[in-house]
C-alpha cells in the first residue's frame, strides 16, 4: 500500500533551506524563528527530503514548547513523517512523541486538545495510539463542544483501524451514550457518523427511537441520516418501508442541501411513481429557487437521469422543467431543451411549442449578446419537435420564417433547413410556405440562406402562378438589366476611382444582401449567381410543363437567357476584383445551352432527380437517427460482473435500481484512485519490457502500467553475479511531459537475488514520452561505480486518447482554430481507399465522424474526418484525403490538427509508423 498524502504546499526551490539552519533555529528560544524553521522543515519533507537527523532535535527542543502555533506545526510534521520502517514496523523513536501527545490531550487549552484529537484521526499506527486511548475517552465528556466533536471523530478513526475493535471494545456503546445527551449539532453529527460507520444497528436504533424529531435535527445530522437510510436499504432491502416516511418528512427540511439529498435517496430507494414524482418535483423546485448556475446544471443532470429511467413520470413535469429556460445561461438553456425534447408527447406538444415560440419572441427583444445563439438552439428545438410531430409544423413554420432575415446567420440557416425539411414532409403546407417564402425573399441577407431558399423555390413552385411569381421575385431581386454595359467599362477606364463604386452599385442592385455579408468572398457571389441560374432554369422548364401558352414560356425563356448572359458578361468584365470562377461560369453556360436545347432526359434530371435525392437524404437521416437510438438501447445490457437480481423471488413492482446504488459505492473509490481494473494476466506478460541484456551483470525488466495521470513502472532487478552489489540505484530520466515523482533509493542486492522496484511517473499531457535509465552499483572489490544503461521505454500516445464524437460545426471551428498541424503524405501498400481509412482508424484509435453512407461506393477518392479526445481533455482532429492513382496506388495526405504540439507530433509519428499497413 502506498503512503497517502495529506498535504501539498508549493515549495520554491530557489531558496533552499539548509538542514543545519533549521536545526539551529529549532534549538533556539526565539519563537518566531522556531515557527519559521518548523514550516521550512515541513516543506522540505513534502519536497521529498527525509531529514532523519531533525527528529531528535524536534523531540528535544520543539516538543516542550508552549507556543500554540509551534504545537500545531509539530502535529503537521508528525503527520507527514515516515513513522514506520520499510517492513511496516513502527520506528522505535516514535514512542517519544506519545508522552507529548498525551499531555496535549490533557492540555488546559481546549483548542490544543481539539487539534491533537484531529491529528489522531489521521494516524494509522496502533502502537502510538494505544497509550493515548484513555485520554481520548476522557475528552468525550469535556465541557467544550470543540473538543467533544474531535474526540468523537478520533474514537471513530481509531475504531476503524485494523485492530481498533480491540483498542476500544465498547466504543459504540460509549458513543451511543454520548449521542443521547449531546447538544452540539456538529458533535451530534459526528457521533451519529461514528455509529453509522462502526455499529450501524445502533445508529438505526437511535434513528428509530427519535423518528419524530428527525425533522428538527441539524442539517449535518440529517445528511448522515439519509446516508444511513441508503446504506441500510441497500443491505437489507426488506426494511426500506420503514424509512420512506422519514425521507418524506425531510423533504420539507429548511436546508436545500438536505432536500436535494432526500430526492436522490428517494430515487435510489424506490421506483414507485409517487416517490419518483416527489423527487422530480423537488428537483424542479430547486431548479427554480436556486440562482446558482452550478446547482441548476447538476439538478438538470439528475432530472436527465430520471428522464431516462422514468420517462412516463417526467413527461408530466415537462412544463416545470421548461421554466428553467428563464435562466440567462446558455448551458442551462441547452441542457433544459435537451431534456424537454425527449419528453414531448402528442399531449403536451402544443403547450411546449407555444412556450418555445414565446421564448423565441422574447429572445428578439432582449439585448443580450447570447440571444442570437439562444434563438438558434430554440429554433433547433422547434425544428426537432416539428419533425417528430408534423401537426405542429403548421403553427410554427410561419413564425420561423420571420427569422430568415435574422442577422444571426446560424439561426437563419437553421430556419431555412427546417423549412426545406417541412415543405418536403408536409405536402399540405407547401402552398402557404411557398407564398410566404416568395413574400419574404427580399429580406434574406445571407448568401447561404439565399441559395437554399432559391433551391426551395426552384423545387416546390408547381402551379403556373407560383412559377411565374417565382420568376418575377427573382428577377425583381436581381435588379435592372444589364448588370454591366460597355459604356460603364469605358467610364471605368477613364476614371479608375469611380469604378469600384459603380461596380458596387451594380452588384448591390443585383442583391443588396450580398454586400452586407462579408463572410463570403466574391467567389461566393458567383456561386450564388450559378444557383440563381439553376433555379431560373428549373422554373422555366417547369413552366413549359404547366403553362399551356407557348408564348408565355418563350418569353420567360428569353428573359432568363438574357439574365444569364448579363451575369456572364459581368463576371468576365475587368472591373471586378475577382473574375468569375470557372465552375460557376460552366454552370451558367450549361444552363444557357439547356434552355436553348431542352429534352425529356434533361427535364427528368432537373425536375425530378434533384427532389428524389433530397428525399433520399432525409430518409437516410431518419434511418441513422433510429439506428442510433437502437444502439443506445442496446448499451444498457448487463455486464458480466453486474449484481444479479433474482426477480423471480420478489415483486418487480416498486423495486429500485441497485445498480445506481452500487455506483455510489464505487464512486468514492474511483475518485480516490483506489479503483484499479484488473488486467488480463496474459496481456500483462505481453507488456513486459526487457531493459538490459541477459549477459549483463544486472538483469532488469519492467512492466509498465499506464493510469490516467500516472505511469507505474514495476521493475524487477536481478543480480546475476556472485558478488553483493552495494548502493544499487535505478536512475531514471524522462523526455517529454513526464515527471518522476520520487527520488531514487539505494539498495543492496545479495548474489543472485532479485528486487522489485516501483517507480511512479507523473504525466500531464498527451504526448509520446520516453523514459531513459541507468542502473548504477558498487561492488566491494571495485571502488568505481559501474553503470548499466537501460533500454528506452516509450510511452504510447494511444493509451491516452479515446474515440469521441463532436458535431461537424464544432469540428470545423476547431479545425480553423487549432494552430498545430502535422501533414503526413500517404504512403501505403493498401490498394483500397476504404480499407486504408479503416486501417488508420484502427491504428489511431479515433472515431470517424463522416457518415458511412458518404464513404460508400467506388469513386476513386475519399475524404473523412476523425476525432478523438485525450484524458486531459485535449482534442485531436484528423482529416484523411486520398485519391486512387492511375497505377492503383493510393496517394494523398493525412492532416492532424491539435491545440498542443505534443498531440500533433506524436499522432503524426504514430500514423507514419503504422500507415504502411500490409503486415
Amino acid at each position: 500500500m502506498e503512503k497517502s498524502c495529506t498535504l501539498l504546499i508549493h515549495f520554491d526551490k530557489g531558496t533552499p533551506a539548509i538542514a543545519n539552519e533549521i536545526k539551529e533555529a529549532l534549538e533556539g528560544n526565539d519563537i518566531p524563528a522556531k515557527i519559521d524553521a518548523m514550516k521550512k522543515a515541513v516543506m522540505l519533507l513534502l519536497n521529498g527530503e527525509t531529514l532523519p537527523q531533525l527528529f531528535i532535535t524536534i523531540v528535544r527542543y520543539v516538543l516542550p514548547s508552549e507556543d500554540h502555533t509551534v504545537q500545531k506545526l509539530l502535529l503537521l510534521y508528525l503527520e507527514i513523517i515516515e513513522k514506520t520502517d520499510l517492513k511496516g514496523r513502527i520506528l522505535p523513536e516514535m514512542i517519544l512523541i506519545c508522552q507529548n501527545l498525551r499531555n496535549n490531550l490533557q492540555h488546559p487549552n481546549e483548542y490544543i486538545r481539539g487539534v491533537t484529537l484531529r491529528f489522531l484521526c489521521r494516524l494509522n499506527e496502533t502502537e502510538i495510539i494505544e497509550p493515548l486511548v484513555p485520554s481520548v475517552l476522557q475528552n468525550l465528556e469535556h465541557r467544550h463542544p470543540f473538543i467533544r466533536r474531535n474526540a468523537i471523530l478520533a474514537v471513530m478513526s481509531i475504531y476503524k483501524l485494523p485492530q481498533g475493535e480491540q483498542l476500544l471494545v465498547d466504543a459504540p456503546e460509549m458513543i451511543e451514550k454520548v449521542l443521547s445527551t449531546e447538544q452540539d449539532p456538529s458533535a451530534k453529527r459526528n457521533a451519529f457518523l461514528m455509529l453509522f460507520n462502526c455499529a450501524h444497528d445502533r445508529a438505526i436504533n437511535y434513528l428509530l427511537t427519535h423518528v419524530d424529531r428527525v425533522s428538527e435535527w441539524g442539517e449535518l445530522l440529517q445528511m448522515v441520516v439519509l446516508e444511513l437510510i441508503r446504506k441500510v436499504c441497500r443491505t437489507n432491502r426488506g426494511e426500506k418501508g420503514k424509512y420512506i416516511k422519514i425521507i418524506i418528512s425531510l423533504l420539507n427540511a429548511p436546508s436545500t442541501a438536505v432536500i436535494y439529498e432526500c430526492a436522490g435517496t428517494l430515487v435510489s430507494l424506490s421506483s414507485a411513481p409517487t416517490a419518483i414524482r416527489a423527487a422530480a418535483n423537488t428537483y424542479c423546485q430547486l431548479l427554480l429557487s436556486q440562482s446558482d448556475n452550478n446547482v441548476k446544471l447538476i439538478v438538470l443532470d439528475r432530472l436527465n437521469e430520471l428522464k431516462s429511467s422514468h420517462r412516463d413520470i417526467m413527461v408530466d413535469l415537462i412544463m416545470d422543467v421548461l421554466r428553467a429556460l428563464s435562466s440567462p445561461n446558455l448551458d442551462i438553456q441547452r441542457k433544459t431543451l435537451d431534456i424537454v425534447l425527449e419528453l414531448v408527447t402528442p399531449r403536451n406538444i402544443n403547450e411546449v411549442v407555444l412556450l418555445l415560440k414565446k421564448e423565441v419572441m422574447k429572445s428578439q427583444s432582449g439585448e443580450l449578446e447570447k440571444n442570437g445563439e439562444y434563438r438558434q438552439i430554440l429554433i433547433q428545438a422547434i425544428h426537432s419537435c416539428a419533425i417528430k410531430f408534423p401537426e405542429v409544423a403548421s403553427t410554427v413554420v410561419h413564425l420561423m420564417m420571420d427569422f430568415l432575415g435574422d442577422s444571426n446567420v446560424a439561426s437563419a440557416i437553421d430556419v431555412i433547413v427546417f423549412v426545406r425539411e417541412i415543405i418536403e414532409t408536409n405536402p399540405k403546407l407547401r402552398v402557404s410556405i411557398i407564398t410566404r417564402l416568395l413574400d419574404t425573399f427580399y429580406q434574406i441577407r445571407a448568401a447561404w440562406v439565399c441559395s437554399c431558399a432559391l433551391w426551395i423555390i426552384g423545387e416546390y413552385c408547381l402551379s403556373p402562378s407560383e412559377v411565374e411569381s417565382g420568376i418575377a421575385t427573382i428577377k425583381q431581386c436581381l435588379g435592372e438589366l444589364p448588370f454591366y454595359s460597355v459604356s460603364e467599362e469605358a467610364e471605368a477606364t477613364d476614371a479608375s476611382k469611380k469604378t469600384p463604386q459603380s461596380n458596387s452599385i451594380t452588384i448591390s442592385s443585383r442583391r443588396p444582401a450580398i454586400l452586407a455579408d462579408d463572410l463570403f468572398s466574391s467567389l461566393a457571389i458567383f456561386f450564388l449567381a450559378a444557383v440563381v441560374t439553376c433555379t431560373l432554369t428549373k422554373l422555366v422548364l417547369r413552366l413549359e410543363e404547366v403553362q399551356p401558352s407557348k408564348v408565355e414560356v418563350n418569353k420567360a425563356t428569353t428573359q432568363a437567357l438574357l439574365i444569364f448572359v448579363s451575369m456572364l458578361q459581368l463576371g468576365q468584365s475587368p472591373v471586378l476584383p475577382h473574375p468569375i470562377d470557372n465552375d460557376s461560369c460552366d454552370r451558367i453556360v450549361l444552363c444557357i445551352r439547356l434552355l436553348c436545347n431542352t429534352g425529356d432526359e434533361i427535364r427528368k434530371i432537373w425536375l425530378q432527380s434533384c427532389r428524389q435525392s433530397f428525399v433520399k437524404m432525409l430518409s437516410e437521416k431518419q434511418l441513422q437517427e433510429t439506428e442510433e437510438l437502437k444502439a443506445k438501447a442496446q448499451v444498457s445490457h448487463a455486464q458480466p460482473d453486474d449484481l444479479i437480481d433474482f426477480y423471480h423471488l420478489k415483486s418487480r413492482k416498486g423495486m429500485s435500481q441497485l445498480e445506481l446504488e452500487d455506483e455510489v459505492q464505487d464512486d468514492l473509490k474511483r475518485a480516490t484512485g483506489e479503483f484499479v481494473k484488473d488486467a488480463d494476466d496474459a496481456n500483462k506478460l505481453n507488456r513486459i519490457l526487457q531493459l538490459t541484456g541477459f549477459s549483463d551483470p544486472v538483469y532488469a525488466e519492467a512492466y509498465v502500467t499506464v493510469h490516467h495521470y500516472d505511469i507505474v513502472l514495476d521493475i524487477t532487478v536481478i543480480n546475476r553475479t556472485r558478488e553483493t552489489l552495494q548502493n544499487l540505484c535505478l536512475e531514471l530520466a524522462t523526455m517529454g511531459d513526464l515527471k518522476l515523482v520520487e527520488r531514487p533509493q539505494n539498495y543492496t542486492l545479495a548474489p543472485e537475488s532479485s528486487k522489485q522496484i516501483k517507480a511512479n511517473i507523473k504525466v500531464s499531457s498527451t504526448e509520446t514520452g520516453v523514459i531513459f535509465g541507468n542502473i548504477v552499483y558498487e561492488t566491494s572489490n571495485v571502488l568505481e561505480r559501474t553503470v548499466v544503461v537501460l533500454n528506452d521505454i516509450h510511452i504510447d500516445i494511444m493509451d491516452y486518447i479515446s474515440p469521441a464524437v463532436c458535431t461537424d460545426t464544432a469540428f470545423r471551428t476547431m479545425w480553423a482554430e487549432f494552430e498545430w498541424e502535422n501533414k503526413v503524405a500517404v504512403n501505403t501498400v493498401i490498394k483500397n481507399e476504404k480499407e486504408f481509412l479503416d486501417h488508420i482508424i484502427k491504428s489511431t484509435n479515433m472515431k470517424c465522424l463522416t457518415a458511412p453512407s458518404a464513404l460508400d461506393g467506388e469513386c476513386g477518392f475519399l475524404a473523412a474526418n476523425l476525432y478523438a479526445k485525450s484524458v486531459f481533455g485535449e482534442d485531436a482532429l484528423v482529416n484523411v484525403s486520398i485519391e486512387k492513382q492511375a497505377d492503383g496506388k493510393l496517394s494523398g495526405y493525412i492532416r492532424i490538427r491539435s491545440k498542443t504540439q505534443g498531440i500533433a507530433l506524436s499522432l503524426g509519428d504514430k500514423i507514419t509508423l503504422k500507415q504502411k499497413g500490409g503486415s
Partner: protein, 607 residues
C-alpha cells in the same frame, strides 16, 4: 475495509461464530472480498458456495442471502465527502492542497494537474466533471480555489463550503497571488482543517474559524493563574516551614527533648512533596506528576458550569400545527402503498422497545393510571415481596380546560389504600369519589406536551402475601445429567391479566456458543455479551396461560440461572380504577378526554 463489513457479519452471525476463529475469518474475508465482488457470477457456481460457507461458519439459508452478502462486500464507507481543498494558480501551479481522505500523492497531483486543462473560459458555471471526480471551483484574482469531490457529492453543500473557504482565503492571505498564498500557506491549512473534518463539512462561520485558529483559551489562562497561585502558596508554606525549622532548631538547642523533632520533620516532608508536584507541573511536557494536577483542574472547571443533559425523548411541540402536514404525508404514503411499496408505519425499534417514551397525548385532557409492580418470588415457590404502586395523573393541554373535576370509580379492592394529592379536596373524594381541587376557582395546572407525566392526582399502594395475586409465576428446574445441564422453565399466568411483551431473562454461565434450545413456546434470543437468554412471548392470554421452554448448556451450578428477571406490561390494573366522567366546573359540555391504563413491571424477579 473489512472491519466494517465484519461488523455486519458479526452482528448477523454472532450466534454462530466461535470467538477464537473470528480473527482468521476476517483476515480471509479481507483478502478475498475483492475477488468476491469481481467474481459475483462465479460465486454462484458450485465451489464458491463452499468458500462463502467457510467465511460464515453457517449454512447458507437461501440464495437470497448470497445476494445480500455480495452486495455487502462492497466498500461500506460514507460516500459524500470532500476529497481535497486546494489552491491552484491560474497558470496551473499547485500552491497548496489539503486532503481529507486517504489518497496517494501521485493521484492528488494528477487530479490537480488535470484541473487547469479542464477549466474552460467564458463559462458561467464553476464546476467541471470528469469520469471520476468533480471539481467545484471559484476564481479569486490570479488563483483558483477548488474542492475536489466525488461525483455523488452534494453540490449545494459543497458550494456552501467553497464560499466559506473563499472568505477564509481572503481573510488570511494578505495578497491573493502566489506569493501571498505561499506566505500564509500554513495558516490557510489550519483554517481549512476547521471547516472540513474527515471530508465532512463542519457548521462554522468565519468568526468561529478565526477564534479556533487563534486558540485563545480562557481555561488555559485560568489554569496558569491557578498554577501560579499554587506556586506562590507553596513558597509561602516553604518560608513558614523554614522559619518553623529554624525555631525548632532553636528549641532543640534549648531543650533536649526528641519527640518534637520527629513530628516536625514529618510535616516538612509532606509539604515538600506538594512543592515538587507544583513546580514540575509548571514545566509542561516532561513532568511525571502532571496528570494529578490536570485532573484536579478539570474537576475545578467542570463544577461551576456543568453540562446539562437534556431529555432526549421529550415529545415535540406544536401538535396541532403538524396535523395538516401529516395528513399530506399520509396521502403520500397511501399512494406509495397502492403502488406496491411496502411502508411500515409503526417505527418502533426492535431493541429496547420498553424504553420508548409514551406517545404524547393529543386529546385536550388525558388521564393516565399507572401501576408499577415490584415483586420478588422465591425459586422454591412463595412470595418474598409483592408491592403494587399506582398513580393517577392528569394532563391538560389548554389553560381553558383547567377548571374541572374528575369522577372516578374504583374496583373496591379492600387491600388498596388511596392517597390524594395535598391540594385535593379530601372530603369530596371520600364521599363522592370525585377528584377536585380544594379551591374550586383554581384551575388544574396545564402541562405542555413536554411534561409527559402530567399532574399527579392520586396515589395508591397494595401489598400482599397472597400467592394468587401474582400475575405470572415462573418455575425453573435445572438438572445435571452427564455432561450437560438441562434447564426447563415454565410459566403460569393468572387469569387476571392479559400480559404483553413478556420477556423472561435467564442468566447463563459464560458460554462459547448459544445454548441449545430444545423446546420453546415463544421466541428466544441469546445475548452473548451479558450471557443472558431472553425468552419472549408477545402476548399471554387465555390461549396460553402456561408455557414452557427447555434448553441445554454445559454443566453448571443451578444457582447460576438465578435471579431470573421478568418484564411485561398489561392494560388492566389491580385497582380497577376507571375515570367515569369529567365534570366541567363552569358548566357546558363535557370536554373530550382520554384515559390510559398501564400496568408494568419495575422489578420482577425470581431469586
Amino acid at each position: 475495509m473489512l472491519e466494517r463489513i465484519g461488523t455486519f457479519f458479526a452482528f448477523e452471525f454472532s450466534t454462530n461464530r466461535s470467538p477464537e476463529s473470528e480473527e482468521d475469518t476476517e483476515y480471509k474475508l479481507d483478502r478475498d472480498c475483492f475477488l468476491v465482488t469481481k467474481m459475483k457470477l462465479k460465486i454462484l457456481q458450485g465451489p464458491c458456495f463452499v468458500f462463502l460457507n467457510d467465511l460464515l461458519f453457517a449454512p447458507l439459508p437461501s440464495v437470497n442471502f448470497i445476494c445480500t452478502s455480495i452486495a455487502i462486500v462492497v466498500e461500506i464507507l460514507s460516500s459524500m465527502v470532500v476529497l481535497a481543498a486546494s489552491i491552484v494558480s491560474k497558470s496551473g501551479k499547485v500552491l497548496l492542497s489539503r486532503q481529507f481522505v486517504d489518497m496517494t500523492r501521485i493521484r492528488v497531483e494528477g487530479l490537480l494537474a488535470a484541473f487547469p486543462k479542464l477549466v474552460g473560459t467564458g463559462k458561467q458555471h464553476t464546476y467541471v466533471e470528469t469520469e471520476n471526480v468533480r471539481y467545484v471551483y471559484q476564481p479569486i484574482e490570479a488563483l483558483y480555489l477548488l474542492l475536489v469531490t466525488n461525483k455523488q457529492s452534494n453540490i449545494l453543500e459543497d458550494l456552501e463550503t467553497l464560499r466559506l473557504l473563499s472568505k477564509l482565503v481572503t481573510e488570511y492571505s494578505y495578497s491573493l497571488d502566489e506569493e501571498g498564498i505561499g506566505k500564509t500557506a500554513f495558516e490557510l491549512i489550519f483554517a481549512f482543517d476547521e471547516v472540513i473534518c474527515l471530508g465532512h463539512k463542519e457548521n462554522v462561520t468565519v468568526a468561529q474559524v478565526k477564534q479556533y485558529c487563534e486558540m485563545e483559551s480562557h481555561e488555559e489562562k485560568l489554569h496558569k493563574l491557578v498554577l501560579q497561585s499554587k506556586i506562590n502558596e507553596t513558597k509561602d508554606v516553604m518560608k513558614r516551614k523554614a522559619s518553623e525549622i529554624d525555631k525548632s532548631k532553636i528549641d532543640k538547642n534549648r531543650s533536649e527533648k526528641g519527640g518534637f523533632m520527629s513530628m516536625g520533620s514529618g510535616r516538612i516532608e509532606t509539604s515538600f512533596s506538594e512543592l515538587s508536584i507544583s513546580s514540575s507541573g509548571s514545566g509542561f511536557g516532561s513532568g511525571s506528576g502532571f496528570g494529578g494536577i490536570t485532573t484536579d483542574l478539570d474537576a475545578f472547571s467542570t463544577k461551576p458550569k456543568g453540562r446539562q443533559p437534556s431529555a432526549a425523548t421529550a415529545p415535540s411541540k406544536g401538535f396541532g400545527m403538524q396535523l395538516g402536514k401529516s395528513q399530506k404525508t399520509n396521502q403520500f404514503l397511501e399512494s406509495l402503498k397502492a403502488e406496491g411499496e411496502l411502508i411500515v408505519e409503526d417505527l418502533q425499534p426492535k431493541v429496547g422497545q420498553s424504553r420508548v417514551a409514551a406517545t404524547p397525548p393529543t386529546d385536550p385532557i388525558t388521564l393516565t393510571a399507572e401501576e408499577k409492580l415490584n415483586v420478588t418470588l422465591k425459586r422454591d415457590g412463595g412470595i418474598s415481596n409483592f408491592d403494587v404502586q399506582g398513580t393517577l395523573s392528569l394532563q391538560i393541554l389548554n389553560q381553558e380546560d383547567g377548571l374541572i373535576q374528575v369522577q372516578i370509580e374504583t374496583g373496591g379492592n379492600p387491600g388498596i389504600l388511596f392517597k390524594t394529592h395535598p391540594n385535593m379536596n379530601k372530603e369530596l373524594f371520600s364521599n363522592e369519589n370525585i377528584l377536585g381541587l380544594k379551591d374550586p376557582n383554581r384551575p388544574f395546572p396545564t402541562g405542555p406536551a413536554g411534561d409527559a407525566a402530567g399532574v399527579g392526582l392520586l396515589k395508591w399502594r397494595m401489598q400482599s402475601a397472597d400467592e394468587s395475586m401474582v400475575p405470572l409465576s415462573i418455575n425453573c428446574w435445572p438438572s445435571v445429567s452427564g455432561n450437560e445441564t438441562y434447564v426447563s422453565i415454565e410459566y403460569e399466568a393468572s387469569a387476571m391479566f392479559d400480559l404483553r411483551n413478556v420477556v423472561i431473562s435467564v442468566p447463563l454461565p459464560a458460554l462459547r456458543e448459544a445454548p441449545n434450545v430444545r423446546q420453546i413456546d415463544g421466541e428466544w434470543r441469546y445475548d452473548p455479551r451479558n450471557s443472558i437468554l431472553e425468552w419472549s412471548i408477545l402476548l399471554i392470554d387465555n390461549s396460553n396461560r402456561s408455557g414452557s421452554m427447555e434448553f441445554v448448556v454445559p454443566p453448571a451450578d443451578s444457582s447460576v440461572f438465578f435471579p431470573i428477571s421478568v418484564r411485561f406490561s398489561a392494560t388492566s390494573l389491580y385497582s380497577d380504577l376507571k375515570v367515569v366522567n369529567i365534570i366541567p366546573l363552569r358548566g357546558g359540555a363535557t370536554p373530550k378526554f382520554s384515559q390510559r391504563t398501564n400496568l408494568s413491571t419495575e422489578n420482577y424477579q425470581v431469586v
